[in-house]
């Protein structure tokens, strides 16, 4: 499952529970091609192609958060499109309300929609400055955080950075394992609805830990400048790390793997050192 689907999935689950639908019968279609004929509850379309064939009727509600929903038959309830593609073919009918928030929608002339609402988003073609503005702002925030931390509590960043450098394989391994496991646990929690707040909190904490790892890696890079102005050095180091992560994404597969590896190494070092509160030392093994 694509990582970017997770916030949308949680949002869909929140909308689902707010709408009073029975979450126990909800189905989340993550991947592959599926033809839905007799599903009895809510449907969430993830990174998959879901088709409602001509003579079929599904009760809804249906949430499209990715992939494609192709309707040739009838959806008796509401359809909410948060992303992905919604294709309403000739003869298709949505008897509830179609709520379009984002994504691509194709409606054939012969399709019938009982009620339609749309969130209008005016999209301008971003210029080069606007395109990189979110990254620049994120870099600035991380650089400021790094500068502040390195001046206030340098030992924290020193511990995390040293662990990432001296025990890179262990950091990467622990980072990967904790990331995959806890991400799955938090997504799983979201399905219970009761634990959606815990799930969101966990995801935020995880994102903060990953960001902390980037700052610690930036601290390591900054130390190579050998300047007494540790705050400035860390801020510059963070910028270098972020640029490196952005640049690596230009190289398909290998670049992405390198970027993920770097992020997970930083994250693993944060976990291993209890957010920098102590230095990590692996067990001592005899020769």
């Amino acid at each position: 499952m694509k990582l970017e689907l997770i916030p949308l999935l949680i949002l869909a689950l929140l909308l689902l529970s707010a709408g009073g639908a029975d979450v126990e019968t909800a189905e989340f279609v993550i991947e592959g091609d599926h033809e839905v004929t007799d599903h009895r509850g809510a449907l969430i379309v993830g990174d998959a192609t879901v088709t409602v064939p001509p003579d079929a009727e599904v009760p809804g509600p249906v949430y499209v958060i990715g992939g494609e929903l192709r309707v040739e038959g009838t959806v008796a309830g509401d359809v909410t499109q948060l992303a992905g593609v919604l294709a309403l073919e000739d003869g298709a009918a949505i008897e509830g309300r179609l709520q379009h928030v984002a994504g691509t929608e194709r409606t054939a002339d012969g399709a019938v929609v009982a009620e339609r609402t749309a969130v209008e988003v005016t999209r301008n073609d971003p210029g080069p400055v606007a395109a990189y503005l979110p990254t620049a702002l994120a870099t600035l925030a991380l650089a400021l955080a790094g500068a502040w931390l390195s001046r206030r509590w340098p030992t924290l960043l020193e511990n995390v950075g040293a662990t990432a450098r001296d025990h890179a394989l262990i950091s990467l391994t622990v980072g990967g394992l904790v990331f995959v496991t806890f991400l799955s646990v938090f997504v799983f929690m979201a399905f219970t609805l009761v634990l959606v707040p815990v799930s969101l909190l966990g995801l935020l904490l995880g994102a903060a830990a990953v960001a902390y790892g980037v700052v610690a890696l930036g601290y390591l890079v900054g130390r190579r400048l050998e300047t007494p102005r540790v705050g400035l050095a860390t801020a510059l180091g963070v910028a270098v790390v972020v640029v490196l992560l952005e640049a690596s994404s230009a190289v398909p597969v290998v670049g992405d793997l390198l970027a993920i590896g770097l992020l997970l190494t930083g994250f693993g070092a944060v976990v291993l050192t209890y957010f920098g509160l102590r230095r990590f030392e692996p067990v001592t093994l005899p020769e």
Partner: protein, 423 residues
């Protein structure tokens, strides 16, 4: 890693020891994973035509016989000094593989219940003897520092192969694959064990340097100690939880044909790849952390995995199950298998490795696996719904997750009460 040092220094004798160990153990474990655990069920139910309940009793009998043979041979190996004699162990392995080759080739021709019973009884002999012989090779071939990674290589490779081949879990397929692999192994083992070979002479002396396990320093772990039996109990729980859940999952088409037995090569390759990655991660964890962390991860992963299956059966069984479920299952299995290969030799010295590996692998591995297999077949036989069955398994896994930190905490309390200073 010591292996890298050996390669840099061009010391090919110890390097060859690594290769022999990984090849022997991976092949042996692949045999147990496929031929014995899955092929035997197919043989009993499909070819012989026995009801699942009878096959489950045969499996339980095989487990008990294997355990008895393993413990007897392990204790005898230690008392006679065979555990520290590489040539003697290679000769035993030669005999074991020879008998297994005959049994493997004969299996597809078993047709009657008494033939099946006889086959099971004879099968227990090489299986039982093979446990202390093969597991104790670790002290001859692998230095303590590299045991986690080498155990990971064995676990990863055997599961990788088992996930990809054979496609059909039928005794005929298993038999053909195994017999073809065993025939050359018998020849090689015969050459290595029945006459003196200079490089085997060098390998035979390595246990003097490599023999004392990680957890036996400075004091060796005694067979009667609470540490040893506590670990046996923990590993028993791990094997039991795994097998009890898995045997019912593989009988459920929606789960097995979308994962382990999927017609899609990509899906099987994914599972095989996760086995490799999982084993490697376990190797890193075993080498870098205290063993309790690995146990906690194993129990936690099993609990989460079974929770996902229970959740899916209850709420989403109409849809295709996500690959995430078998992925976590595979991770947990790779973790504890790696732990199983490294743990028992690391709790041993050359004087105790036969007994410790026999008790550890025999009780925790074989007895737990076959008892849970029998129980899983029984639950299927009486028509216990999958949801109920997996709920029990999940409860057991959760209980173990909670019990481990509680036990560690109580252990620390006892230490403090006895006045042992904080470490």
């Amino acid at each position: 890693m010591k292996l890298i040092e050996f390669v840099r220094e061009r010391r090919w004798v110890p390097v060859s020891g690594y290769l022999i160990y990984v090849a022997a153990l991976a092949a042996g474990y692949y045999y147990n994973l496929t031929f014995v655990q899955l092929g035997l069920i197919d043989l009993g139910t499909r070819l012989v035509g026995l009801p699942p309940g009878t096959v489950s009793m045969a499996m339980a009998a095989l487990a008990l016989l294997t355990l008895v043979v393993a413990v007897t041979s392990g204790v005898l190996m230690d008392r006679r000094g065979t555990s520290a004699d590489l040539y003697a162990k290679l000769r035993l392995l030669f005999a074991v593989v020879l008998v297994q080759l005959v049994l493997t080739a004969a299996a597809p021709y078993v047709r009657s219940p008494w033939q099946f019973g006889l086959w099971v009884a004879v099968c227990a002999l090489p299986l039982g003897v093979g446990i202390p012989v093969t597991f104790s090779f670790m002290i001859d071939f692998v230095p303590v520092r590299d045991r986690g990674y080498v155990a990971a290589a064995v676990a990863g490779l055997s599961f990788f192969a088992a996930a990809l081949y054979p496609m059909e879990w039928r005794i005929e397929e298993f038999s053909a694959v195994m017999a073809a692999a065993m025939a050359p192994a018998v020849v090689v083992l015969g050459v290595l064990s029945l006459r003196r070979v200079p490089f085997v002479d060098a390998l035979a002396r390595q246990h003097e340097a490599f023999g004392t396990g990680r957890f036996c320093r400075p004091e060796p772990i005694r067979t009667t100690s609470a540490t040893f039996w506590g670990l046996v109990a923990l590993m028993f729980g791990v094997f039991f939880v795994d097998s009890l859940g898995f045997l019912r999952i593989i009988e459920t088409p929606i789960y097995i044909y979308t994962s382990w037995q999927s017609p899609e090569v990509g899906t099987r390759l994914f599972i095989a790849g996760v086995h490799l990655v999982g084993a490697f991660v376990a190797g890193v964890l075993y080498t870098s952390f205290d063993r309790k962390w690995l146990f906690l991860w194993v129990f936690g992963l099993f609990a989460f995995t079974h929770l996902q299956y229970v959740f899916h059966i209850r709420f989403g069984s109409d849809g295709t199950p996500p690959l995430l479920m078998p992925m976590f299952y595979v991770l947990a299995v790779s973790f504890y298998t790696t732990l199983n290969f490294a743990l028992w030799p690391d709790l041993s010295t050359p004087e105790t490795v036969g007994t410790h590996t026999a008790l550890g692998v025999g009780i925790a591995g074989w007895l737990a696996t076959f008892l849970s297999t029998a129980l899983a077949l029984y639950s299927e036989g009486i028509g216990l719904p999958l949801l109920t069955h997996l709920t029990y398994v999940n409860a057991l896994a959760l209980l173990l997750v909670v019990s481990l930190p509680v036990a560690l905490y109580v252990h620390r309390m006892v230490e403090l009460a006895r006045g042992v200073s904080a470490s």
